[in-house]
């Protein structure tokens, strides 16, 4: 099996050799993507990913869903957000979390088995990872309904108008809930942007199992625009997301962005991708790497270099510090108390649950007594 052949070329401005094509859809001035910052974000987010894989190999994490290869899509989208916008991620948006200021150590708890969440979503409007495919698309729709009712859309005040950015994968396109979300968003013209990272594979199912047309083409049938973009081109991803978010904040309604990319690693550390796809496919996508591309642009080409050896050396040092912090932070993540699960299911604990908790705590205490 192979991934489907795209019928529409995704929009791109930065080619695999790092050559930038002029296009007036790329924002400039204050709205322009800070290329040096984007490069730094991609490199550091990738380091979070590789370090987490290493922690899984050492037995410190039970599982890790790698985003290797998707940094361009995620940093492009993540850097288009404003602080008042709201993100609903899947479970693979590690680079978006990075862009939105979520401490990467907090991403590890879910996969270490110390929590089902890991951070306070209200601190940065970055919601908790959602593991059930597509479920978060409807939460995004509901949140956008709230924004409309709060009057925080279309006021023209750049600090007030808000939009929701919700992430999904190509597999989620087939879920009923995602399609319901498209219907609701369209019918109510909601300030929500659906960002689909089409990474070609839903575990072992290629994109051709989900769709006979590019994902972006589906949007028209629901009544809003769809945009197909090169997901490994961080500049193009930033441009389309910024335009879609600006449109949503202004009251222009939803957009579906299909960022065409590739999941370079297995679905998770437990997956064995060579059972369903050829390694050569991965090699081919490696030549379109989003980080390599931007580095080629920034270090030369026809222009004067925007990053130099000193910048790269600083970044390498920063990477090592981050990796060290992740390793230490991971091992220091607090293990919850035996009674914690009982505390958080309802606002006030019903009597029978309290009885169950006490029974459990007594058992745990007795078992610990036996062992000491």
């Amino acid at each position: 099996m192979t991934s489907a052949t795209p019928t529409t070329e995704p929009w791109s401005v930065l080619d695999a050799a790092g050559r930038l094509r002029q296009d007036d859809r790329v924002p400039f001035g204050a709205d322009a993507l800070d290329l040096r910052a984007a490069y730094r974000d991609m490199v550091l987010a990738r380091r979070v990913d590789t370090e987490a894989i290493a922690l899984q190999r050492q037995g410190e994490l039970g599982l890790w869903p790698s985003m290797l290869g998707q940094e361009g899509a995620q940093v492009g989208a993540g850097s288009a957000l404003r602080a008042q916008d709201v993100v609903f991620p899947t479970y693979r948006e590690h680079a978006v979390a990075w862009c939105f200021g979520v401490d990467p150590v907090q991403l590890l708890g879910l996969f270490r088995g110390t929590t089902m969440g890991g951070w306070d979503p209200r601190e940065r409007n970055f919601n908790l990872y959602t593991l059930v495919i597509g479920a978060q698309t409807l939460h995004a729709v509901g949140y956008a309904m709230g924004i409309v009712r709060d009057g925080d859309v279309g006021t023209g005040d750049p600090d007030r108008d808000r939009a929701v950015l919700v992430f999904l994968g190509d597999g989620a396109l087939s879920e009923g809930e995602t399609n319901e979300a498209f219907v609701w968003a369209a019918a109510q013209n909601l300030p929500v942007v659906f960002f689909c990272q089409n990474n070609q594979w839903a575990i072992s199912a290629p994109f051709s199992v989900q769709s006979r047309v590019p994902a972006a083409e589906r949007a028209r049938g629901f009544g809003f625009p769809g945009v197909r973009v090169d997901g490994n081109d961080v500049i193009a991803c930033h441009a389309v997301t910024q335009a879609a978010l600006a449109n949503a904040r202004a009251g222009g309604g939803p957009t579906l962005i299909e960022a065409v990319t590739y999941r370079r690693n297995p679905h998770t550390t437990s997956d064995d991708d060579l059972r369903y796809r050829a390694g050569s496919e991965n090699d081919e996508w490696a030549t379109r790497d989003p980080i390599d591309r931007l580095r080629a642009l920034l270090t030369g080409g026809d222009h004067s270099p925007q990053i130099d050896e000193a910048f790269l050396a600083d970044l390498a040092r920063e990477e090592e510090e981050l990796a060290e912090r992740l390793r230490g932070g991971c091992r220091a993540l607090p293990v919850p108390a035996a009674g914690d699960p009982f505390l958080h299911s309802l606002g006030s604990m019903p009597r029978d649950l309290e009885r169950q908790m006490n029974e459990h705590l007594a058992f745990v205490a007795a078992a610990e007594g036996d062992h000491s």
Binding site: G117, P121, T130, A135, V141, G146, P350, R351
Partner: protein
């Protein structure tokens, strides 16, 4: 003033919307039509279509968007049109709504109410008569309420909307047009506690929703024979107030539980297990259940005997009292 349960529910929604402008309603046909049971009659006209939202057809969308609205600070009240139509929303209810507080380590509560008309006895076609309560009661993180008369409906729905936890609110549809006195200013009852509807010392008879008036009727028949049965309205199906039932059984020594839902793994089985664990030596007879059978709800012409009625409840009470 005597009021139908449907009107009491309408008044409760209206009062909740007046008291808190974050309360809004989402559901199919709840606008100009007022819902198929007219529970939301007139509310869209009075509160506007931003607060009484006629939804596209899609139950997952109703509950999923309610979760998003709750995250944005609203208190949505969803209407599922019929009990049999809640299943497309089960993923959102079970994997998202019920777990959000747990997932967020207690940081985020989702004050979402899901109103569902339930039960049989109205001569309906398939999927329009169902008793899905055990699915919800079996799901940690949800509260499940089921009122049995107009006053309870008014009071419990208001409390459900004010509650920060997700609440599945089951409305017994054959009671929609049963009238009772409603006093909106009456103090709120403890919604986690069962209610002793009629005191007695011969036998404890537990029911909820539409079967409460049936149980009261059965108790009336037994009273004529000189046996005073204590009728308990469970009111909350999650959490279950076993303490009130155990206290009653300690006095009566006998317990009969009635519900429309099928028997296996039902509310009755759970309650029986709890009571025998706490009042084993006080029991004079085996705990008996009078329930719907382990079949789908039958075609409506067969419902009269399939559903627990006065005679079936009396038969169980007689059997219990014969021990």
């Amino acid at each position: 003033m005597s009021t139908a349960m449907a009107h009491a529910l309408n008044a409760s929604l209206r009062d909740a919307m007046r008291a808190d402008d974050k309360v809004l309603l989402i559901g199919e046909d709840i606008g100009p039509l007022g819902g198929v049971f007219r529970v939301t009659d007139g509310l869209q006209k009075d509160f506007g279509d931003d607060r009484v939202v006629t939804s596209p057809l899609g139950e997952a969308g109703i509950v999923g968007s309610a979760i998003g609205l709750a995250l944005a600070g609203y208190r949505p009240v969803c209407e599922i049109q019929f009990d049999g139509f809640v299943f497309p929303a089960m993923n959102q209810i079970v994997t998202q709504l019920a777990r959000y507080r747990h997932r967020s380590e207690g940081r985020i509560s989702l004050p979402v109410v899901i109103r569902i008309p339930v039960g049989g006895g109205i001569g309906a076609i398939e999927h329009h008569s169902e008793s899905p309560e055990a699915y919800f009661a079996h799901t940690p993180g949800l509260r499940v309420l089921c009122p049995s008369d107009a006053q309870e409906a008014y009071d419990l729905l208001g409390q459900a909307i004010r509650c920060d936890d997700p609440v599945i609110f089951l409305e017994p549809k054959r009671s929609y047009w049963s009238k009772g006195d409603v006093d909106p200013s009456a103090p709120a009852v403890d919604m986690e506690r069962a209610r002793i509807v009629r005191p007695g010392d011969a036998l404890s008879l537990v029911a909820y929703g539409a079967l409460v008036p049936v149980a009261v009727k059965a108790a009336g028949v037994l009273a004529e024979e000189g046996r005073e049965v204590e009728v308990i309205d469970l009111r909350s199906l999650s959490p279950i107030d076993d303490a009130t039932v155990v206290e009653s059984v300690r006095r009566t020594g006998r317990l009969v539980i009635a519900h429309e839902a099928s028997q296996t793994c039902g509310i009755g089985g759970e309650l029986a297990a709890r009571v025998q664990a706490q009042a084993f030596y006080e029991l004079e007879a085996p705990i008996l259940r009078v329930t719907g059978y382990d079949t789908p709800y039958p075609a409506s012409r067969l419902e009269e005997e399939w559903l627990p009625n006065v005679d079936r409840i009396l038969e169980a009470c007689d059997l219990s009292l014969s021990h």
